[in-house]
Every structure is written in C-alpha cells, then in structure tokens.
Symmetry: C2
Subunit: 451 residues, 2 copies
Amino acid sequence: MTRLLLLGAGRSASSLIQYLLRYLAAEDWHLTIADVNPAPLQPILAPYGERAQAVAFEIGQQERLHELVAAHDVVISMLPALFHPLVAKACLQHQRHLATASYATEEIRAFEAEARAAGLTFLMECGLDPGLDHMSALPVIEEIRAQGGRLTSFKSYCGGLMAPDSEGDNPWRYKFTWNPRNVVVAGQGTARYIEGGRPRFIPYQHLFRRVERLAVPGYGEFEGYANRDSLGYRPLYGLDGIPTMLRGTLRRPGYCAGWAALVALGLTDDSYRLGNAAGLTWAELIESFLPSAAPGEPLAGRVAAYLRLDPTGEEMQRLNWLGLFTTEPVGLPDATPAQLLERLLTARWQLQPQDHDMIVMQHLFEYLPADGGAVQRRTSSLVVIGDDAVHTAMAKTVGLPLGMAVRRLARGEVAHRGVVVPVHADVYAPILQELAQEYGIEFVESEHALA
Amino acid sequence: MTRLLLLGAGRSASSLIQYLLRYLAAEDWHLTIADVNPAPLQPILAPYGERAQAVAFEIGQQERLHELVAAHDVVISMLPALFHPLVAKACLQHQRHLATASYATEEIRAFEAEARAAGLTFLMECGLDPGLDHMSALPVIEEIRAQGGRLTSFKSYCGGLMAPDSEGDNPWRYKFTWNPRNVVVAGQGTARYIEGGRPRFIPYQHLFRRVERLAVPGYGEFEGYANRDSLGYRPLYGLDGIPTMLRGTLRRPGYCAGWAALVALGLTDDSYRLGNAAGLTWAELIESFLPSAAPGEPLAGRVAAYLRLDPTGEEMQRLNWLGLFTTEPVGLPDATPAQLLERLLTARWQLQPQDHDMIVMQHLFEYLPADGGAVQRRTSSLVVIGDDAVHTAMAKTVGLPLGMAVRRLARGEVAHRGVVVPVHADVYAPILQELAQEYGIEFVESEHALA
C-alpha cells in the first residue's frame, strides 16, 4: 500500500484526482485529499470507500501540514507555488517524496543536497507549462542532436485558450481557465530572450505589441508574446550556445493589441490604490487616466486619440466590448487598477458550463543538418480540447502528466533523487507514451527546409 | 554659545556652509561639519579658528553619530533623506533640535509626539522643494483667503535648470545640478493629481508626454510634468476641498518629449540587470531593445520607426546628441539600463566650472474673488541664477532657507515643537524677508482676470 497525500483540490486538480482514483485499487493506493473546502469532494470519493478521503486543511495550519505529511508516503501539492518551500520542508523532515506542477525555484533548489542525501525525490515542473513543455521538447532536441544536427533556434509557445466552438461573440476569443490575477499582471517586468546570438529585452509597455504570428493546422492562427525569461531554459535543455531561444504565451490574433491598450491606459497596474468608491463607474475610472478635454467630448474617442488608435478599429471594439465606457460601477472600493480590471474581466470572460477550453502548445525548432544541407524547421504542435467546464484541457494537461509522474514515483520507477524536473528520458518517455495511448494527447510534427 | 552640527557637506551644502560661517561670530556659534571627506573643508574653515571644525564621519558609524549629536545643541542634516530617521532618533535620545531640507515623511512624523513632549523642534522641509515652495505659496493663499477669495486651482512647478548663457548647444537645455540618479528614475510609479474635482492618474509611460507649457517673463518658455503625489499637499496648505491641485517639475520645452523616448525604449528601467559586458557599445545596447530587422537597416531609423517618431524630428535629434547610436562602450558591466543611462548623461550633462545654473519656481493660483467677479489668475514666479559651479542656484535655494531657519531655531525664535514644516507665518515670513533683502531671492507676482 502507498499512501498518497494531495494538498489542494482547486480548479486545476479535477483531472489529477480522476487519474489518481482510476488507479487507486490497481496500485493499492490510499489517497487523502486535503483542501480548504473538502465537502464537494465527498460524493466523488464515496465510491472508493476507505481508500479515499477528503479532509479539511488550511494553508496556515503548520502543525496539521506536518501531521498530514508524516502520515503519507508521497505528497502531491497543487497549492499555490508560494507555499511549496513550506511543503518541501515538511517532506524533508518526515522523509517523504514530493511531486508538483510548479517551478523548481531557487528556494526549492536549495533543498537539493538535503533531499538527495535523504534519498528523496522532489519531482517539480510535472504539469503543462512547466512540465509537458520539457517532456515534449526534449525528445525532439535529443533526436536532432543524435542525427548530428545543430540547433540554431528554438521557440516554444503555450496558451490556455477557448475551443473554436466556445469563443462565442467575444472579440478577445479568450476566457479564464486559470487564475485571472495571473492573466491580468502577466508579463510585468521586462521580457528577455536571445535572437541571432544577441540578447533582446522587451519592456512591459511594448510586450503585447511585439507578437509573432503562428498557425496550427486545423486550428487557425495564433499570436505569441514573449515570456519573462527565456534564457534560464538554455542550460536545462543543454542549449547553452543556441543563438535564438524564446518562450512565449499564445493568444488568438488581436488579443495582444487589445491588451496593449489596457496596459497603456494603466489598467493592469497593481502597484497603487486608487482611493476610489465602489460606486465609481467604469467611464469615470477610464476618464481619470486621460488628460482633461472639452466638455461633451465622447470618452471612447478621447481614449482612441490618447492611445493613437483607430476609433473604429479592432482595439477600440475590444475595449468597448468589455464595457470600459459604461456607467457600470467598478464594484470595489480603494482598489488597484489591476484589481478592478480583474473583477471586470472575471465577469466578461467567465467560462460557461457548456464551454470547452483549449490548450495549444507549439515548438519551433531550426537546425543545420549534419549533411550541411539547408536549415530545417521542425514544428511540433499539441492541441487539447477540454471535455467540459470541470475536466478542462487545462486541468487535463496539468493534472495527467503530474498523476502519471506520481504513479511512477510511487512504484519506485523514478531513480533520480534530489530536486528533479522531467528532462530525463526515463521520466518523460513513459508519460508521453501514456498521454498518447490512453488520452490521445499527442504532438503533431512537421518539417520542411527553410528557403 | 550655540553648538551647531552639520551632518553631510555634499554639493548642495556650499551656500548653507557659507551662510553659517557668515553668522558664526555674530551669533556666537561653534560649528562642526561632519562629512565622509572633511579635508576640502579645512581651508574654508581655517579663518574661523576654534569656532569651526570639520571632522570625519561616515553614515554607518552609529556610535560616532551619537557622540556628535550629544556634543551639540542643534543638528542640521544634509545627509540623504534615507538616514534622517536615524538622525532624528539620536536627536530625540540626546534632546537636540534638528533641521533638514528633506520631507517630513511618515517615518519622521512618527517622532512627533515624543519630540513635542521633549520640547524639541524637528524642523523639516526647509530647503527649496520642499521648503521655499511652502514658504512662498502660503502667504499668497493666506492673502487670497483674507480677502474672501475662494481658491479653485493651485498648480506649482519647480525645476533646477541652466541659465540661458550656459545651455550651450545641448538640445536638452539641461545639465545635472542635483543627484543624477534621481533625475534618471524621476516619475517612476504613477503620478496623481486632481483637476476640476476629479482625481487624475498618469502612468509613468505617459508622464513625459503630458506636459503643460508655462512662461516666465524674461526667461522664456518652460514645460512641466506632474510630480508623483500632488494630493498630499492639500491638508498641509489647508486646501482640502480645492478642485484642482497639481505639483510639477519644470524643464525647457522639448526635454520631456526626448525623455519620453528614453522611457519608451526602456533606458530608465532600474529593476533588472542586463548581464552586459562593459565593452558593449551604446548602439548594441539600443539594438537589444528593438525587434530584429533586416541587416543593414540604420539603427536610428529603426528607433524612430519603433517609437513612431519623426526620423529627423527634435526627439531623434536629442537621442542622437546623447550618442545612443555610437560605438562608444557603455562602460559598466552587468548594469541596469538606468545605471548605464546615468553614466552616459553624467558625461553629457556635466556642469562646467563657468556654467551658471538656474532655479525656476512658479505658482499658478486661480480664485473666485469675494465680489463675485471673474476668476482671477495670480502667477508668482521665482528665478535664481547660480554664482558659479559651487554656489549654484540649487545650493543657494536649498541652503539659504535652511540656514535662516537654523539661525532662528538657534536663537529660540521658533516656538513650534514636534515635527514642524515651514507653513507657519512666524517661521516663513522672516525667511522670505531675509532672502529678498539680503540675497535678492524674491518672487514676482502678476494677476489678471481669466476670460
């Protein structure tokens, strides 16, 4: 018997839980799910009798965390990444393995030596991004290398979007399948990448204006903006000398230009409070970001002029669709602009029960073949559509790789110790195989010579 | 005998020291100047014999600070504002009065009750801005109020610039007379002010594009951008209900549009390190902020296109004059963009020994007169020209009001206790009078009815 502890059962955990339950009996697992709100889990776990239980747990409860960790063999955490150092510490103290879908941050890597010495595996970055990105890029990199090819460019994009049937009349073609706050403050700071051997920097104000167009056969066009740090991935992938490397986030065409307008207005700023009343209207809020004007000048026209946008263009249509120029109250007193924008978008971009989300990931490799021929471009693309508003594509692509990693860890099939990310073929190959065979989650590749 | 301690004898302290020395014998003062580099002060103080001494003191020396404070009656601090809470604490412990030209921050105001109970005066904001701004605005506000007028708008601008004879061929018409770093990071965050009863916010990216034109008779045109917080001054001036209030910084016309281009490029960002070599050229640095382009495309043209500027316009001329498109090395390894810009500007905008700087302050009041007549605009302007590169207008306007405040404090003529700023007529009136009579530092007023 292996005792599994899952900390946190939020939105993204549904498919992970389903996966763990699927193998509960076959793997002789006992599963405890510890969440701030365990009640909704009871009916799901009831059919599994003593093998599965849901218990109440709040993140602040340090003693309870230690009790729970001590009473299990493998700890899976879906808590916010912020709390993982605390969880890792408890795992170290009670000598338990850990698996998460979060980044192996500096704080987590600080446990490397101790975890390794204790024979523990802290398996990080086993979700979608980070997770499936590594697992799917590395076999291609390995294959090109094995054939004597030399990689000159690697760009990798991922996005959590809506399936075409669920975009509706929303001109942003976007709804929240993830933490809305993270979407609102996405990209703040300066993005850095490397192109043609030269470092490049994109200040936040330009980020959503400097997008690359991509196409995924059968799913149409997308645009990608650069993630904050594309350079840290070079050593991880053994690509230290690669001239071009960029990681980015995918949106549907036009989203980024619209978002750039929200950024330029100042609506994504989370650094100060407005001192506003909850009854302030959206039009009044928008007005407070503009220079004064002659009385009676329409607000939307002032915004277009201020941002140098076509008054009837797509950007203004998107802003208008959000209701920025209406008398709707902002609804929160003394908030930051980002908090008010998040509140508005949460209403506008809410996933409906019948909606299907869509995960898109695309890797673009360029390499010089060993035979000295023309530069080859290989494209590797994944599209996953959600089943419904619970088993979203997001929940599946985050939860299934993590569940599969846990299954191998629990079986003793992961030999690596210390802080581990899935860049090893013995870790990722069986997961890729299971995703393809059992769930149809599979990358489609194409290759052609560049002119 | 009164024992005065001056902490810090940097660039802005020259006129303060001259003032204190002028009254040394007449006021029966003993003056100790404590600075990290006391040697250059020795020849200046030598003629004053035992009455004046310069001693070595570094900011980190806590014990030494306490010794010095304990051995004097009034402490004057020209240290960076950051250290004033430490200085205030020492003053409290040893029961000494304090005078500075820095803001009465929350941290300093926290000493209010204790200082008051101990019968001490912590006289803050006695320089130029803050300082002379309060001292000069308040008599006008009081006068309008005494006549039954109702203030509807108060805008106040101040800038440390170059006298017309010293601008040379520098198209920015600006040189550093103050901490260069503060100029480079000026305005970061979001500026807030109130206009027509409505709060207004200006995100940093727009700040230098939203300027107001002003004229000072005899000195030509200026432009002003909004300071970070104009609202905190309302209670200080008894103007809580005023519909329009803005404080701003003055530059010569065109400076702000050029600076906005530096901001848009990302060169004022101090939040991350570039990982660059010291030998990186300015052209390479600028290139790293641009999207890639066809080989051979001229850099300046790419920048103009990227920032949507006229390639031969004034903004591009200003950028070009700075040498942004040259092979000059940036000169500092692994620096922030702001550090590199500061280094470049320090070379380009260096005050020459024969240069004269110029302080400009202008208050713009609008009020409804008691008789119900047309709205009146009163303009109150000050221009001070520096004597030379030591007794700059900056040093005079910061140091003389502070010296005069200290003289009154040492004489026991300041009755206010606790944390005090010069908004009281009994504090500011004698200072304004002395500035005008002894130094010709005087505001010129004009008034007319608005159409």
